[in-house]
Amino acid sequence: MTASETGRNKAPLSTYRVLEIADEKGVYCGKLLAELGADTIKIEKPGGDDTRRIPPFADDDPHPEKGFFFLYYNQNKRGITLDLEHKEGQDLFRRLVRHADVVIESCQPGHLDSLGIGYSALSEINPRLIMTSITGFGQSGPYRDYRVTELVSFAMGGMFQCGEPSRPPCVSPVLMATQCAAIHAALATLIALRHRGTTGQGQHVDIAIHDVAATSIAEGMATRWFNFRELLTRQGSQHVTAPAAIYPCKDGHAYVVGGLVPGNAPGSWPAFLEWIGNPDVLADDVWGDANFRRQNIDVVNPFIVEHTMKHTKEELYREGQTRHFPVSPVQTPADFVDSAQTKARKFFVDVEHPVVGKQTYPGPPYKLAVPWRTMERPAPLVGQHNVEVYCNDLGMTNQELGVMRTMGVI
């Protein structure tokens, strides 16, 4: 047993094997399980997965081993190639499923069934199997066959409230809806594993990005309509309380919140007025009412801006915090990387990869009291673990592997 295998035994999911057939909807689910110690085998089509072409790339070189998306989301996984459209490939996949606990897949609903490797077929081979399907709209319903991308998911699940009233709604710069659903899929998989632990039964987990987004990042806009007949609309960065919004400052922007604490205490409205220099116009007691301020925020804002423009975002952050206001800088990614807080927590980690070398990646967002030792491998190269998985794990001979390669199955 190698050192890395010993390490894996000390992680929560070290006794499980996961097969992943996933595009961008499923890779984060696989990453989370792999990070928790599951032996996660990523199955790519011969020549490599399409997600290897997602930009940007290291050195802007569009090389299949250099895409940041692929490098990041496939850490700790093993990688094999297999053509699932090919009959021999389907047979090999069924052999892999016999020794697997979980299959993660994000194909269009019905696609794996059409290949003879859908849940019902696989559960006959392995009744303990958990299949976690992650799709745009789920395995059933009128939109089941709709095409999905993050832009589509976010449009249908929260974008209406993002942006300024005078402009179109604005999409998020990340895979917000997609990744939110992927984390739910990982949690649902663990819950299914616990069910299997007590009953011995596998099952099919059906995660729809549309369901998840509508009940999470859409911020209750549906329940607000159902229960109150109110439409939530976009208000830029302005929060329902006021002042609470993004304000410009000397070197960028800061999120400034003031006056939420009642009375005269630190964090209160009088304390906020004192901070911005007690403008005469706002001296009247009527401004002490948060609803009144919200309704007349256009009167208040120029005085806040006059103050914020005299300071840097960092000065506003430090001074605001000293005065107990929830003020924060609008950090650039560079600010975040370089901040003392991020550095103290060692959030960014170095990862050594055979093609891109030693580089800095975002690490896990948590620290553990007693670190689970997990495997630490970079994303696999195309077909990197073919011999290991097909010969060592499945018991194929080198000759058989050679035949499969010649046929284009592997």
């Binding site: 940007p56 940041f68 998306f69 490098l71 990041y72 319903g141 009128p142 832009l151 449009a155 249908m156 929260g158 993002c162 942006g163 402009r167 179109p168 998020s172 710069p173 895979l175 917000m176 939110c180 984390i183 739910h184 649902a188 594993l193 616990r194 009953t199 039964q201 099952q203 987990v205 995660i207 998840v212 509508a214 009940t215 806009m221 549906a222 329940t223 309509w225 229960n227 109150f228 830029g236 929060h239 609470a244 999120y255 919140v257 800088p329 950090q331 650039t332 990614p333 560079a334 975040f336 003392a340 807080q341 103290a344 927590r345 959030f347 580089q359 990646y361 975002p362 967002p365 948590y366």
Partner: protein
């Protein structure tokens, strides 16, 4: 109810607002007994009755909609943690529980000596997930931060908005709170797996800003590896076209459209009836469509602006083109897919009556979850003290009389 997968898991919830409560909501759908520690003396921000259900009811923290939505399915006990007797009850409760979730400010539980260091002395195999904005360590971790401060700190707000607008927009909401909540729930169950196999507990110190940065991987790696600071892109893509959010007929109706391949472009042209401009050679390739996106978008908006957003979506999706109407709350409430999936469910409540709630969205076909009603403040105090901690009626009476259970 008896065969839900998390039925024997008890979680104590030291939570406020959204991120922490969301974690517990996901767990109790599958049978976990999640007990929220509350007090009338310092209400959860979401218990404050700013919006009550039904709309015209008297202000009442048991009718506060925000709390109900994020805490449905849990139990509630009212205990004043500022009293030693109250803290003692919580210590005893934690010692017969499996896990705790904490999204209070970093100083709060430390001040009560109910942080992991203290609780683990009573319950060595305790699992605790703390999920402060900046975590439990580092020079700034005790800062006063609300949900709206976290996306700005994570670098996400900076990247979110239109190119020609000097001010980033960010989101009016708190999408990263949900990412934090579900990640916390995931880590808690993973720790449970580990404890069941090894007997060892765990402390998970999660920083919500780091969790948000986790899904900004390409933006961060472009910076750390290519030394490039990405700028805001609005609703445009440097890689695909058409790509955008297009104005449709009527007020505030929009539809997002994304075409990636030449094949999809052909389907798109067919779906909109192949108007003459689609023959223009400059739109024949992906590169041409990206380079001429402003002109392309104007043509597309001519077509979309004569149709409703749902009609645009349906026409394009029928042709195999990725299109999504920008749904508002009413659209979601009427969405045939969400209705088919029972994504929102009606639940009865003794004070609020029947209302719509988010349903169970993790669909497990053999062990489906259950969406249960929210608790009234302190509704389960007696159950916890009598049935779980074994206190006598007179002991409970005495605690109540002295104001500990308020």
């Amino acid at each position: 109810m008896n065969d839900l997968p998390l039925q024997n898991v008890r979680v104590i919830s030291f939570t406020n607002g959204m991120a922490g409560p969301y974690a517990g909501r996901l767990l109790c759908d599958f049978g976990a007994e999640v007990i929220v520690v509350e007090t009338r003396k310092r209400l959860d921000t979401f218990r404050r009755p700013r919006l009550v259900y039904p709309k015209d009811a008297e202000p009442d923290f048991d009718r506060s909609w925000s709390w109900a939505e994020y805490n449905r399915g849990k139990m509630s006990i009212s205990v004043d943690l500022k009293r030693e007797e109250g803290r003692d009850l919580i210590r005893r409760l934690v010692s017969i529980s499996d896990a705790a979730i904490d999204n209070f400010g970093a100083r709060v539980l430390r001040g009560f000596e109910l942080d992991y260091r203290h609780l683990t002395e009573l319950k060595p195999d305790l699992i605790m997930v703390s999920m402060q904005g900046l975590g439990q360590t580092g020079p700034d971790h005790e800062h006063v931060l609300w949900g709206m401060n976290l996306m700005p700190l994570a670098g996400l707000t900076y990247e979110w908005g239109f190119t020609d607008n000097p001010t980033p927009t960010g989101s009016g909401g708190f999408p990263t709170d949900y990412l934090a909540g579900v990640t916390a729930a995931l880590m808690l169950i993973a720790a449970l797996e580990y404890r069941d196999r090894t007997g060892q507990g765990q402390f998970i110190d999660m920083a919500q800003v780091e969790n948000a940065a986790t899904i900004m991987e390409s933006i961060y790696m472009d910076y750390t590896i290519n030394n490039r600071l990405q700028e805001r892109r609005g609703n445009s893509s440097p890689y695909y076209g058409p790509y955008g959010v297009y104005r449709c007929k009527g007020s505030e109706q929009w539809c997002a459209i994304e075409v990636r391949t030449d094949e999809e472009w052909q389907s798109f042209c067919d779906a909109i009836g192949n108007p003459p401009w689609t023959d223009d050679a400059k739109f024949a390739t992906v590169l041409g469509r990206v380079e001429n996106s402003a002109e392309l978008d104007r043509h597309i908006e001519e077509w979309t602006s004569t149709r409703g957003h749902l009609e645009v979506m349906e026409l394009l999706q029928r042709a195999g083109v990725a299109a999504g109407a920008v749904l508002n709350g009413e659209d979601q409430a009427n969405c045939p897919q969400l209705l088919h999936r029972k994504t929102f469910v009606q639940i009865d409540h003794p004070k609020m009556g029947v209302a719509y709630y988010p349903g169970v969205v993790m669909n497990l076909d053999r062990s489906p979850g259950i969406a249960r009603r929210p608790a009234m403040l302190g509704e389960h105090t007696e159950y916890v003290l009598r049935d779980l901690l074994g206190l006598s009626e007179s002991e409970i009476h005495e605690l109540a009389e002295s104001g500990v259970l308020t």
